[in-house]
């Protein structure tokens, strides 16, 4: 397996991804799956400038990623698959066979309820995450490698105030 994590993170490229995961796992490439960024040369350039020169960055729409993922899985280098939202990863679970999903950062929004310090979920997103597990994926939350992975059932039963 060359895709070390398949991560949902609404900040996309940022310190935790590039440094927190990138350095200890010797990450050589990131596959950023986002329909908006895939159509924006400027945003792609922005994210490239935030990535170390030795780390390759590939951009795909969700539809393109479904086709392209097998190629990345054959890559001998270590990589990260990254989406900015639950729905995009759901599609990759259903159509591209993603079987390990990392919830890395989903932040506050008025319709979301806080589950962990770095995980806020709407009822719709919770249902979609449950469906990922019904599809055969193992869904856990973990912001950085040194943290313990939290199983989805524990994420969904967690109340941040009590943790």
């Amino acid at each position: 397996v060359t895709l070390v994590i398949n991560r949902i993170d609404d900040r996309l490229i940022h310190g935790q991804v590039v440094v927190g995961w990138g350095q200890p796992f010797d990450i050589a490439f990131i596959v950023l799956v986002n329909d908006e960024v895939a159509q924006s040369d400027w945003e792609q350039e922005l994210y490239r400038m935030g990535t170390p020169p030795e780390m390759d960055l590939y951009f795909h729409s969700v539809a393109d990623a479904v086709v392209a993922l097998p190629k990345y899985r054959e890559d001998k280098r270590n990589g990260i698959l990254l989406t900015g939202d639950v729905a995009s990863m759901h599609r990759l679970v259903k159509e591209a066979g993603v079987r390990e999903v990392n919830i890395g950062g989903i932040h506050h929004r008025p319709d979301r309820r806080q589950r962990l310090r770095y995980v806020f979920l709407s009822p719709v997103e919770e249902d979609v995450l449950r469906d990922m597990e019904r599809e055969g994926a193992n869904v856990t939350a973990r912001d950085v490698p040194s943290a313990n992975a939290v199983d989805l059932k524990d994420v969904l039963s967690a109340e941040e105030a009590a943790r």
Binding site: I13, V19, G84, I106, H107
Partner: protein
């Protein structure tokens, strides 16, 4: 850091409490911490970081942003926000010598002070000991 005689000239932004922490050091050493506005991305989504950054930049009418890490979400947000502002300066990897130099250079435009501070901050790093 509420000295009204000192104008706000830049934002210092970063992970966790980086901005508040380094700003407290600037204030302790120079008494001019009021020239910088601290900004934290803690607990915010990428969209919200950008929105809040835009609000702070507009409120204080600044053209200079210092951040902690080139790959950080504050840097990403600052680049998006400053994109539409002419003659701006964004410096990633800010350190204490850099910020001290900046807050003392209040006689020159903030963007010029920032460029000078960048050179000062880079030159201020040193390594002692260990094998060459």
């Amino acid at each position: 850091m509420s000295d009204e005689r000192i104008a706000v000239r830049a934002i210092i932004a970063g992970h966790g409490d980086f901005a508040q922490g380094i700003l407290s050091a600037v204030e302790l050493i120079t008494g001019r911490g009021a020239a910088l506005v601290p900004f934290s991305a803690k607990g915010l989504s990428g969209v919200d970081i950008e929105g809040l950054m835009r609000e702070v930049v507009t409120k204080h009418d600044v053209r200079v942003v210092f951040t902690d890490l080139q790959a950080g979400s504050c840097t990403m947000a600052a680049r998006k926000v400053l994109r539409t502002i002419p003659d701006h300066v964004l410096i990633a990897g800010a350190n204490l010598p850099m910020l001290i130099d900046f807050v003392f250079a209040d006689q020159v435009p903030a963007v010029d002070a920032a460029r000078h501070a960048f050179e000062r901050g880079r030159a201020a790093m040193s390594v002692l000991g260990g094998k060459p």
